[in-house]
């Protein structure tokens, strides 16, 4: 039986050095007896140290956990950790076997330490000591369950770099001064000031943020156990707040409804609805404002905004798409999403300048189905297209284009009022009532959906040809 004495409880480097030597020496866990440190005891008790030369590789995750778990106050910790590293050196994937008793113990103990660390990050309360040369200094007294000061001090260093501070615990103290972190011996509560000027404000805040109508004491105590309360300035208010809660709620219930604040009308702004009358829709701007308030069909309920047509009133060519997509819905402009980019490139190739066209859609609101983080496009129904034609007709009447290009079947229905296949309409020039010419082609989003590259290139060329023909017809 090899006897090992650790001098510095909670010191990972010391434990690791010993464990490494034992592992290299092939000393099985059942042959080691670990003892907590007493003054003057030698590291290896009475026996000679084992040879530390042989290197053993261990999973990084295990070492990270051991670094934390060694801070646990349990007397059995060094021995149990050694058994784990002994096994991990022999059994592959040991840590993945979360149902193994040793691994289960390790994970649970590690969790307890991490919780202790987390609560220390949360519940340390600094009190101000003073200020020198523009640098404020603070001190805190804290009693963690385990020896975790060295695991928590770096957090406070990162967070409070620009001030000086000290955290005192019964085991040790951490001091951040002149941008240097150092450790010292344990302290006492008396070394830290008894109060702080800001504590009144903090307690006022704590009392005011509490909602007396939803008292849940168990939820509070589960997360902020009573053992921490004596170091939390706000905790002295818990009992009085609870005692008064019921009466406060009763008073709210019993109070008769009071007359409205006499200054209500002076304060309130009238939010102008400015619903326009139909005969006021004499400009594209007025149409765009009015369509923004459209509730003619339920599509407005879920869309962000109506997307009105865009382009000069004097445009000779009007391009009509189906409906705004995800991007258009967010930005409030037509053809700014992926299909819009395809259209832009095709227009370019066909020799058309987008800025001289009037671009709009048969349906002004985005119709979609939510699916997780995405909105899946849904085709508008014939009914929705027909209802929305009211707006398309307004835009047509104001722009009075010589020629309309419809992109896809929905646009075709929006313009003509009839459902027809694009195939049957394509390649010819149609004349609408009033003499406006019509060129029917595909919607650019169709090109995005074609998986076959050759077919996509072919369809794209035909699309560009349709656009080029429209340019010539309108010239």
């Amino acid at each position: 039986m090899k006897e090992v004495v650790l001098e510095r409880p909670g010191d990972f480097a010391e434990w690791r050095g010993v464990a490494r030597a034992l592992l290299a020496g092939g000393v099985a866990p059942e042959d080691v007896s670990w003892r907590g440190g007493e003054e003057g005891a030698s590291l290896f008790g009475d026996e000679a140290p084992v040879d530390a030369a042989g290197a053993v590789t261990l999973p990084r995750e295990l070492l990270a956990m051991a670094d934390r778990v060694i801070c646990h106050r349990g007397a059995e910790i060094p021995a149990r950790l050694y058994r784990l590293v002994w096994r991990a050196a022999r059994e592959r994937q040991l840590l993945a076997r979360t149902t193994d008793a040793d691994v289960d113990w390790l994970r649970k103990t590690d969790k307890a330490i991490r919780r202790d660390i987390h609560k220390m990050h949360a519940f340390v309360r600094f009190r101000r000591l003073g200020e020198a040369a523009g640098r404020e200094s603070f001190a805190a007294w804290f009693e963690p369950d385990h020896r975790i000061l060295r695991l928590t001090a770096p957090f406070f260093q990162r967070r409070f770099y620009g001030m000086d501070w000290a955290i005192l615990t019964p085991d040790a103290r951490a001091i951040w001064h002149d941008e240097t972190l150092s450790y010292g011996p344990g302290g006492t509560r008396g070394e830290v000031p008894e109060s702080d000027v800001v504590e009144d404000q903090w307690r006022t805040y704590y009392g005011a943020i509490f909602n007396p109508a939803r008292v849940k004491i168990d939820a509070m105590r589960a997360e902020m156990p009573k053992k921490y309360w004596h170091n939390l300035p706000e905790a002295q208010d818990i009992a009085p707040l609870l005692a008064g809660a019921r009466a406060r709620v009763e008073r709210m219930r019993a109070a008769a409804v009071s007359a409205a604040n006499p200054r209500t009308e002076k304060w309130r702004t009238r939010v102008a609805d400015d619903l326009l009358l139909e005969d006021e829709l004499t400009s594209l701007g007025a149409v765009a404002r009015a369509v923004g308030q459209c509730t003619r069909c339920p599509l407005h309920c879920n869309a962000t905004q109506a997307v009105a047509g865009e382009g000069p009133a004097a445009a000779r060519i009007m391009v009509v798409g189906e409906q705004p997509g995800d991007r258009e819905d967010l930005q409030g402009r037509p053809f700014v999403g992926p299909a819009g980019q395809v259209l832009d490139a095709a227009l370019d190739e066909a020799g058309l300048d987008r800025r001289r066209l009037f671009l709009t859609n048969a349906v002004k609101h985005f119709k979609f189905e939510p699916r997780g983080k995405r909105r899946l496009h849904q085709n508008p129904t014939a009914g929705e297209i027909d209802i929305c034609r009211w707006w398309l007709d307004k835009e047509r009447a104001l722009v009075q284009p010589d020629l309309i290009v419809t992109l896809g079947a929905s646009a075709l229905r929006g313009v003509t009022g009839k459902s027809a296949s694009i195939k049957s309409m394509r390649g010819q020039v149609h004349e609408l009532a009033g003499g406006t010419k019509l060129v029917a082609t595909i919607h650019p989003s169709f090109l995005l959906r074609l998986p076959d590259r050759d077919r996509a290139a072919e369809e794209r060329a035909a699309f560009v040809a349709d656009l080029a023909r429209a340019r010539k017809l309108a010239a």
Partner: protein, 420 residues
Amino acid sequence: MPVGMSSKTILQKLAVLADAAKYDASCASSGTVKRDSTGTKGIGSTEGMGICHSYAPDGRCISLLKILLTNFCVYDCRFCINRASSNVERARFSPQDVVALTLDFYKRNYIEGLFLSSGIIRSEDYTMEQLVEVARILREEHLFQGYIHLKTIAGADPALVALAGLYADRLSTNVELPTKAGLESFAPEKKPATIRKTMASVRVGAEDAIDAAKNRLIGKAKPPRFAPAGQSTQMIVGADAARDDDILATADNLYSGYHLRRVYYSAYSPIPDASSALPPVRPPLMREHRLYQADWLLRFYGFAPQEIMEGASGGMLDLAIDPKLAWALMRRDIFPVDINRAPRELLLRVPGLGTRAVDRIVAVRRTGKLRLGDLAKLTASVKKVLPFIVTLDWRPGKLTDSADLRARFAPPAEQLALAL
């Protein structure tokens, strides 16, 4: 003697403006970028996981200094303590007041940062400017690296929203009521379309910032992050006639359209000087709890709102049992599920198995077949899982289809009401 507006002390203002802010449920400080004050004269850090620095006796976490800049408000939303027609005491902080409080609290490790909201004063743009100014002073003049959550005022200029996104970790715009009808009758100045437009501008701002980061030239400075903790919203539950299916459909719509990180559900609770339009009810805490569970099913368990509602009746979730269990009881044809073979998506549907337990099961079953005893180490709720699963040494037999399965889980009726 009545205290005049100008003569209020910081302490008095704090009492008014924290009280006015407590009906906003969010206090999260998680999910932002990692940064700290190392090498600077400033303070502050964010490390991914937020910290709850205290808990109020209502069980809610106190992570941020959650206050209003002012509780004067030109809007008259019936459910709100700060509505114009309320006789509640009014106060207003200057941006410098809020900055000083935030820093004083932060240096003492009371908080992770600031959550600043405001009543609407003068105009939406003016109000938003004031909020942005507080964040600017904290970041630029005090090099504050802590967490900042700003309320985005619906209808404010998108340029102001864009500026807010540069200083804040999180932005939020509250929907408050899930249906248009609800808003029309309870919040006449609020328009759902305006709220959605503001949320859209936050999403666009975030995506533009990501694009700018991707397209930056090598060697050029990194463009600033835009609200790295994303955006969130809140819906009040129980103030109007909206049903749970309305609420979940709205949440689903918002998650998909504006990529919200969180939707908060806040049980309507009695407020001082309440409007006559609202009965002083007990806050429906259990309903709020069930909505949060349903929200988790939407976000992490692959449920569609319609599926969740299969376990509901009349558009309302079952208050006695959780929504996953309620769904499973209606869909017993899917069960039992073999723990050793079922794909992850199916394991996620088992009542009593959370995402973490499912991940552990998937990881550990690669090293060997699972028995019931193993399962007990992976999840705390083995008893709940039993009727729905198969392991090497367990088959539920007739239990899965037994008529009294719901009764095994539903608590006796009187336990339903939570203590007020």
